[in-house]
């Protein structure tokens, strides 16, 4: 099997599963319980928090554990809206956000908030000036993703942070789900107030994630209850999942240090080889893009057919983002970049992990060539 759908989810590391198993078996106590078992669970929780904070150059109390990217994005956006609706009811975001951002915005729109969607250029990048122009007295939140999940393009987070710093009323949220472990991001240097990440994108487990909440920033909780996570996110903590995530992050960042150069080499190889194939158009920009994503269209092929053709040979890729794969809808990021609908409907995403090898890339390219030749015969 050659798994090239790592932006959808990653395979949990064996060591990560071992930690999950051991914590679930031996330290299953509720961190809120007074007895020793609870104490151990609490210790594990705080050690995991410290480790994650340290790895991301944040402080422990700035890490709020959640169930994943979708929840973190919901808390960040709706929590800010609830908290500061008295200050203003205008929110700025981009046209290429993940559905958990976009749909949160739409829900707020229905509640009377005004939402500005900033367009992107043909490389999939927003312009800082456009954001600046959109800012009004009423603006309380700017939410911009870091690495786009469909094309891998990187947004100018630092510059946007510099801009927003001048407006003390505005909270800056960044969706870092695709970037973490691949493209470093300094939360404090970039003036980020809220930052989302998710465990299963870096070889942790589904159902784990966190929201970075910069010290001093207050948002309304969405879950009411027992007051866990400093009253910000009630519900018994997923201790085993959280410990597993802490370990996954450590291992991933270690791999990033050692292997990101190799990943770029593999990515460049795939890109170069795809460009040679007649009818293939690559949507991922050459500059300002993450090292693990390549998005391309094959002229005249339905993306779905191609995904299944590769699957027959044991190669797993994705049509667009996995969350929207089941609905036959063209990638909204590509459409926003000005890619024609027909082309957007035939787009394929290849996404790497540090586990992928050059041999796999070579085999992938061979299989793509084969599949195209075979299918072209059928289709013509």
């Amino acid at each position: 099997m050659i798994y090239l759908d790592n932006s959808a989810t990653t395979k949990p590391y064996r060591e990560v599963l071992e930690s999950f198993n051991k914590v679930s078996t031996e330290y299953f106590g509720n961190p809120s319980s007074l007895h020793g078992l609870g104490g151990d669970a609490e210790k594990l929780l705080s050690q995991a928090r410290e480790q994650i904070a340290k790895l991301l150059k944040a402080q422990a109390k700035e890490i709020l554990f959640t169930s994943g990217g979708t929840e973190s994005n919901n808390i960040a956006i709706k929590g800010t809206a609830l908290m500061y609706r008295g200050r203003g009811r205008h929110i700025i975001t981009t046209e290429i956000e993940h559905p958990s951002v976009k749909e949160s915005m739409e829900q707020l729109k229905a509640l009377g908030f005004r939402i500005t969607y900033i367009p992107v250029d043909s490389n999939g990048t927003v312009s800082v000036t456009d954001i600046e122009k959109a800012i009004s007295q009423e603006t309380i939140l700017v939410s911009v993703m870091h690495v786009n999940n469909e094309t891998g393009s990187i947004q100018p987070i630092k510059e946007i942070g510099q801009l927003i710093k001048q407006y003390s009323k505005i909270i800056f949220h960044v969706d870092y789900v695709q970037g973490i472990g691949k493209v470093p991001l300094q939360f404090h240097d970039c003036q980020i107030d809220l930052c989302t990440f998710s465990g299963h994108k870096f070889h942790g487990l589904k159902g784990t994630g966190a929201l970075f909440v910069r010290q001093g920033v207050k948002i309304s909780p969405l879950f009411s209850g027992g007051g866990q996570e400093w009253q910000q996110r009630s519900g018994t903590e997923n201790v085993a999942g959280i410990v597993a995530m802490a370990k996954a992050l450590r291992l991933t960042l270690l791999n990033q240090e050692n292997s990101v150069a190799e990943m770029k080499k593999i990515r460049d190889f795939i890109r170069l080889e795809l460009e040679k194939i007649d009818g293939i158009k690559i949507h991922t920009p050459v500059l300002h893009c993450a090292p693990h994503i390549i998005n391309f269209s094959i002229h005249g092929f339905k993306a779905e057919v191609f995904v299944h053709a590769l699957e027959e040979k044991g190669i797993y890729v994705s049509t667009t983002s996995a969350c929207s794969s089941k609905i036959k809808k063209a990638s909204s990021t590509l459409l926003a970049m000005g890619v024609p609908e027909e082309e957007a409907l035939s787009s394929i995403r290849v996404s790497l992990s540090y586990e992928n090898t050059m041999e796999e890339a070579i085999q992938f390219i061979e299989t793509v060539n084969e599949a195209i030749n075979r299918l072209r015969k059928v289709m013509n």
């Binding site: 020793g36 104490g39 370990k247």
Partner: protein
């Protein structure tokens, strides 16, 4: 050319006469402990200053750690050269370019310790000033308020260049003023008292009273975590955990309720004093602040202090709670202290403890009770843990992380 060493200027200890050797030795030991993860560094110390030779280790990380070490007045990343003028000029320019940003002004300060050097101070200033001005476009001199002060020090065997003066933590090297026992409850005040004593050179060992099942494993963990924060400053701190349940129960049974607190404190002090004696300490340190609670009125202190004539250091005695909290936040112990677990000071608190206990009365109540055997037993069963800074520690959770 990047800086290859860090020059450390001693604080007050420059004035300490014959004890100076001891001070420098302790400072060197503490720096070594704090920088133990940087294996390649070399520390050279002389009477005037200390040099940390980086040998390729990460200077920025080392600078951050040095900021917390007591006994350092200030320090500067520096370059060493021989006394060849051309080499000196190149080094000065390289170092300067590293930190200079467009629009910044500069001046040069030369210290000519080697009085035999063929150029005098003014000549050196002029030569190097001209060299920088020639090579960096639009650079300007400002001798009153320069953005960068390039310091040149001509010594007998070498020349040192540095551009930044980073303030150190001041104070005296931990251990240079002897050892004291810190009574560490787990509250906000005692870690701050420990920190301030360390600032004046006291090496501390912490003493904690543990009363299971009235206080939980977590309150003990809290104290371990607090000790760890203090260990970050000096490299290592011992923690003595005294089993106190039996004594507290006896007090509750035998001493009138409104005096039980006074007696409890007296016994804690006696036990701490005994541990001090066994460990060659010279003082006891507490986090008392005058009038803060019933046990910290002058009357209470008078009645409690009666059990020993060992010096008791009370660094917080005149501080307001808000000042103490500010320090505890700065040294990162506030959040730990605020964890909501019962500790030895909060269990068995009488409804209305005496704020003005009489020494004679408490002596009288205690005269009916045989405490000595229990005190010896508590001291004997005291558990001593050596606490190292965080990085070295594993927590018993094995490879979970």
């Amino acid at each position: 050319m990047n800086y290859d060493r860090i020059l450390i200027r001693y604080g007050e200890l420059s004035t300490k006469g014959k004890n100076r050797k001891v001070f420098i030795h302790k400072l060197k030991r503490n720096i070594k402990r704090v920088l133990r993860n940087f294996e390649k560094i070399n520390i050279e110390a002389d009477r005037e200053r200390m040099f940390i030779l980086l040998n390729g280790e990460n200077g920025l990380e080392i600078i951050e750690l040095l900021k917390n070490v007591f006994g350092i007045q200030s320090f500067s990343p520096a370059i060493k050269t021989d006394k060849e003028l051309e080499n000196m000029k190149n080094a000065a320019l390289d170092l300067f370019k590293k930190i200079h940003q467009a629009g910044e002004t500069f001046k040069i300060t030369t210290k000519r310790s080697d009085k035999t050097y063929y150029l005098d101070t003014n000549e050196i200033n002029q030569i190097f000033g001209a060299h920088l001005l020639k090579n960096i476009p639009e650079l300007k001199v400002d001798v009153k308020k320069p953005d960068i002060n390039l310091q040149i020090e001509i010594r007998e065997k070498a020349v040192y260049f540095s551009c930044e003066n980073i303030p150190g933590a001041g104070g005296l090297p931990v251990g240079s003023s002897g050892k004291g026992m810190l009574m560490l409850s787990g509250g906000i005040d005692s870690p701050v008292a420990g920190f301030l004593s360390m600032k004046r050179g006291v090496e501390i060992e912490a003493v904690h009273f543990y009363s299971p099942p009235f206080t939980s494993e977590r309150s003990k963990q809290k104290v371990i975590d607090l000790t760890e924060k203090l260990a970050n400053i000096s490299g290592a701190v011992k923690l003595h955990i005294v089993p106190f349940t039996e004594i507290q129960q006896l007090i509750a049974k035998q001493v009138p309720e409104n005096y039980s607190m006074t007696t409890t404190r007296r016994l804690m002090l006696r036990i701490t004093d005994e541990i001090r004696r066994k460990n060659d300490g010279l003082a006891i340190i507490t986090g008392e602040s005058l009038g803060q609670v019933a046990s910290q009125t002058l009357e209470s202190m008078y009645a409690i202090n009666d059990v020993t004539n060992t010096p008791i250091l009370r660094p917080l005695i005149t501080m307001d709670k808000s000042e103490i909290i500010d320090i505890s936040r700065a040294i990162d112990t506030f959040e730990i202290s605020n964890r909501p677990y019962e500790d030895c000071c909060t269990v068995f608190v009488p409804a209305s403890p005496k704020t003005k206990p009489k020494k004679e009365k408490v002596q009288y109540f205690e005269s009916y009770i045989e405490f000595e055997p229990l005190i010896s037993k508590a001291v004997e069963n005291t558990e001593t843990i050596a606490i190292a800074p965080k990085a070295a520690e594993q927590d018993g959770f094995g490879d979970l992380f």
